[in-house]
């Protein structure tokens, strides 16, 4: 599994298409994105990470970088999204962080 993450609109899906040499339709079959939203609702992040790891590519938007929100539920959601990223990165063969459309491999190598 390739775990690909980065800030909002940083070009993550475009990078994923390039890595897989595929179009949007194929990406939709082989990848899952916005997994930070799943972290918010699911009780067990380990199980969630296990399930997601079945995909070829898992894509997350990083949401833990701004000033800490006043709202407790938002604070928890950010923390959980970050934790899920750690769990996915552990399971991934390759981890790619995308910044300004540029993919940086921070674990393993691209297939």
């Amino acid at each position: 599994m390739i775990f690909l993450f980065g800030p909002l609109w940083s070009g993550k899906r475009a990078a994923a298409r390039e890595i897989l040499h595929c179009d949007d339709a194929e990406l939709a079959r082989r990848a899952v994105w916005d997994v930070q939203e799943l972290a918010r609702a699911r009780a067990d992040l380990e199980t969630l990470a296990e399930e997601l790891a079945d995909k070829d590519v898992v894509i997350a938007t990083e949401v833990g970088g701004g000033i800490v929100p006043v709202d407790a539920a938002e604070r928890t959601a950010r923390e959980r999204a970050g934790r899920l990223n750690c769990l996915l990165a552990e399971r991934a063969d390759t981890v790619v962080r995308v910044f300004c459309g540029i993919p940086m491999v921070i674990k393993g190598e691209l297939p």
Binding site: F3, F5, P7, E62, V63, G64, G65, G66, I67, V68, A72, R75, R78, E79, R80, A81, G82, R83, L84, N85, C86, L88, A89, E90, V95, R97, M104, I106, K107
Partner: protein
């Protein structure tokens, strides 16, 4: 050796910082906690970090302000967690240095650095959530970013942790 470890919420920065301390061959491991245990969430957070450190041989020292007044055991590896809380304490707490927060913090860091074998400072990436801040928030962000930059200058290594993986901006894991 001074290492600055920066990361956002849930980035895995604490676990990575602990890993660095565990790798050190210093005689003692000191966890320097800066978070004041006010409120349920703070206590929960403290408990979570305590559980993470269990059986890793850390001595916990709580210090919320004035690091320069602290004496550490000789030959120790120190994990300071975290700079975001220390900045808030120095800036806003009645015991804090207030407008002299930056000098107080940097003096404290220099003092720790001189005393211990290994110093790992965990700091917070809180600067990418917009620019529209006012008053106290702006003063806080400005302080933390200034302190981060100053420490990064002195540090042998500066890395950002995300997804539990460290990316180096200066130096590297030795």
């Amino acid at each position: 050796m001074l290492t600055l470890v920066v990361g956002g919420a849930g980035s895995g920065k604490s676990a990575y910082a602990e890993h660095l301390i565990e790798r050190s061959d210093a005689a003692r491991r000191v966890y320097l906690a800066t978070m004041e245990p006010f409120g349920f969430e703070a206590r929960q957070r403290i408990e979570k970090h305590r559980a993470m450190r269990e059986n890793k041989g850390f001595v916990t020292v709580e210090r919320f302000t004035d690091l320069s007044g602290l004496t550490l055991p000789p030959d120790s590896a120190v994990l300071l967690e975290d700079m975001g809380n220390l900045c808030a304490n120095e800036l806003f707490s009645p015991h804090g240095a207030g407008e002299n927060a930056a000098e107080a913090i940097l003096r404290g860091v220099a003092c720790l650095h001189a005393q211990c074998r290994e110093l790992v400072i965990v700091s917070n990436e809180v600067f990418t959530g917009g620019t529209d801040y006012l008053g106290e928030s702006e003063a806080y962000l400005s302080l933390l970013s200034y302190v981060n930059r100053k420490i990064a200058k002195t540090a042998e290594r500066v890395c950002e942790v995300s997804g539990g993986i460290a990316t180096d901006y200066k130096g590297e894991e030795t």
